[in-house]
């Protein structure tokens, strides 16, 4: 039977002809069968997200040669209208940043794709509620997206992707902003969409642990499809990816470098690629014993601006502890991988939200959604050591009009102190918030 998706010799350029020209996809050919659960894996900039956008008909203008066959038809040749309809009913996309519309309710977000098909309001609402129920978030139907946690928002994103019943679901790094529990829930759900609904699932990820349900893995680097693997069982994936595939992707790397690269992605979820690169560098220094444990922990804690990684004390201590465990041979790297695969590190965004909820726990005043978002920002900046404790108190005290939170002088300094107690790495507090 014909594959549901077939790329034949795809070449794609960004800014073609300009000095900033990038040859983003180089002669990529591949096949995906109907009902397959496959993944594109590789480092930032390897072209995996570009492939995704080509498959969803969003980059047809930039494809300079080759065919994008979906069930035998070349969508790279589609008219604007044909592409518009294909994007509505052919593919459902789930994004890392959720991409919900902040000013409309959760239910309206989910029903939006149906509105584009001209479906009546009543019908949209009925179908929308069915989808919310399936994703276990029906009680939040009339809330605004900002009132939901990251995990819940991602579920809204998934419900929306299912609205027009597309046979193909595309996920662009869907787990990057989710904590361990929610990330696992999303993976479970993707599997359900594949096994129960029979949909073709295509996931893009740079986190090896999220490949566990994929049965076909496309390895990409610098716009080239390096290799296709078809692991038969879950165990195969952990083995295949952890060491071997990193070697394949980086054949000239020393074992220490490979370890540093794969560990850094597992430990620093939700951080920018610059921060991850810097962490990788220092991690390598530690793994090859060029710096000792104390220096390593200090540098993790030091602000990014001053040359460090900019982690908050609690996180720096936790990571330092894990790495010292490897150095003192208390556990092997494989054990660390296994542990992190089962329990991925909490991404920065979730940590900030958890801290915010705890900080507001005893606060008697009213805080609206905008203030909550602002507070998340402030906490994140303090976690990264970009602003000082004093700055935090200042912004908490600043009026809402001036983009502060508008707390009293007393409440501001109390809340700032509370935040500092977490950053100092007090075990009791960290346990209480489950960080």
């Amino acid at each position: 039977m014909e594959p549901i998706i077939k790329l034949e010799g795809i070449n794609l350029y960004y800014d073609q002809g300009k000095p900033t020209e990038v040859w983003a996809l180089r002669n990529v050919s591949l096949e995906i069968n109907k009902g397959e659960y496959c993944a594109f894996f590789g480092p930032s900039g390897c072209g995996k997200t570009t492939v995704l956008y080509v498959l969803s008909g969003m980059e047809s203008e930039r494809v300079t040669s080759g065919k994008v066959l979906v069930n035998g038809r070349d969508i790279a040749q589609f008219s604007k209208r044909e592409l518009a309809v294909f994007r509505q009913i052919g593919v459902g996309i789930v994004f890392q940043q959720f991409n919900l519309i902040p000013s409309i309710s959760v239910l309206d977000n989910v029903s939006l794709p149906m509105a584009f098909l001209g479906i009546s309001l009543e019908r949209r609402r009925t179908e929308g509620m069915k989808l919310l129920e399936r994703l276990n978030i029906a009680p939040y139907a009339n809330r605004l997206p900002a009132e939901l946690s990251g995990g819940q928002q991602q579920r809204v994103g998934i419900a929306r992707a299912l609205a027009n019943n597309p046979p193909i679901i595309i996920c662009d790094e869907p787990l990057g902003n989710l904590d361990s529990e929610n990330a696992n829930k999303v993976l479970e759900f993707m599997k359900e969409l594949n096994v129960k609904d029979g949909r073709t699932i295509i996931m893009v990820t740079h986190e090896a642990w999220s490949l566990r349900d994929a049965r076909k893995i496309f390895y990409m680097k610098d716009g080239v499809l390096l290799r296709v693997e078809e692991p038969k069982e879950q165990g195969d994936i952990a083995q295949a990816v952890s060491k071997l595939m990193y070697n394949q992707l980086n054949p000239n790397m020393e074992p220490g470098q490979v370890m540093a690269k794969s560990l850094s992605n597992l430990l620093l979820r939700g951080y920018s690629s610059d921060e991850v690169k810097r962490f990788e560098f220092f991690l390598l220094q530690r793994l090859t014993d060029h710096i000792d444990g104390d220096v390593f922990q200090e540098v993790l804690d030091r602000s990014y601006r001053r040359g460090g990684v900019g982690l908050w004390k609690g996180k720096a201590a936790k990571i330092s502890f894990i790495i010292e465990g490897i150095m003192e041979q208390r556990h092997t790297v494989e054990q660390v991988y296994a542990m992190l695969e089962k329990n991925p590190e909490s991404p920065l965004v979730e940590e900030a939200q958890k801290i915010r909820r705890w900080l507001l726990g005893e606060y008697r005043g009213k805080i609206d959604e905008q203030q909550q978002l602002r507070l998340d920002e402030i906490i994140t900046e303090r976690l990264r050591n970009i602003i000082t404790a004093h700055n935090v108190a200042q912004v908490l005290n600043l009026s809402k009009k001036n983009f502060g939170i508008g707390l009293s002088m007393r409440a501001s300094s109390q809340m700032s102190e509370k935040l500092e107690s977490i950053l100092a790495g007090s075990d009791a507090v960290t346990k209480a918030i489950k960080l």
């Binding site: 518009a84 149906m114 098909l117 001209g118």
Partner: protein, 149 residues
């Protein structure tokens, strides 16, 4: 098994693309052959062509047509096709499913009176609903037709 031959008559290009895409995306092209007509005259060219052997028509109602030399755009366009099919001994075996953007009781009653086998409101039919209907057609399940036996 023989393919089921479907004719879609609709003057809206997006509806024609949407309909065709559902067959394409959900792998139904093996069971069905789809013909598409953007207007009344093209519809008749296909209906009268015995080699096409149309089994089911999905029929839009409001389309441009000529009456007594004048151009009009009313539901009479679709209704007259419906009536003519049901009155013609060579064509009356064809199942006609009205697929319209209008949901007035008046239109539904008139369609039923003129012999429509089914009435579908566009605004109530998501891709998944149409797929269910196509499945019934493929299984030759005539209970899918609301109005005829």
């Amino acid at each position: 098994m023989d393919k089921i031959n479907i004719l879609l008559v609709d003057d809206n290009e997006v509806i024609r693309i949407f309909f065709k895409d559902i067959f394409w995306l959900h792998g139904l092209e093996g069971q069905f052959h789809l013909e598409v007509a953007p207007g009344v005259d093209e519809a008749w060219a296909i209906l009268r062509d015995s080699t096409k052997n149309i089994n089911v028509v999905f029929l839009d109602l409001v389309m441009p047509f000529k009456k007594d030399g004048k151009e009009m755009t009313t539901s009479e366009a679709g209704m007259s096709i419906l009536r003519t099919i049901k009155a013609d001994p060579n064509l009356k075996h064809i199942k006609v499913i009205v697929f319209s953007g209008y949901t007035d009781k008046k239109d539904i009653e008139e369609a039923k009176k003129n012999g429509a086998d089914m009435y579908l409101a566009k605004e109530e039919h998501l891709p998944q609903d149409l797929i269910k209907i196509f499945d019934s057609l493929a299984k030759q399940d005539s209970s899918v037709y609301q109005y005829s036996k």
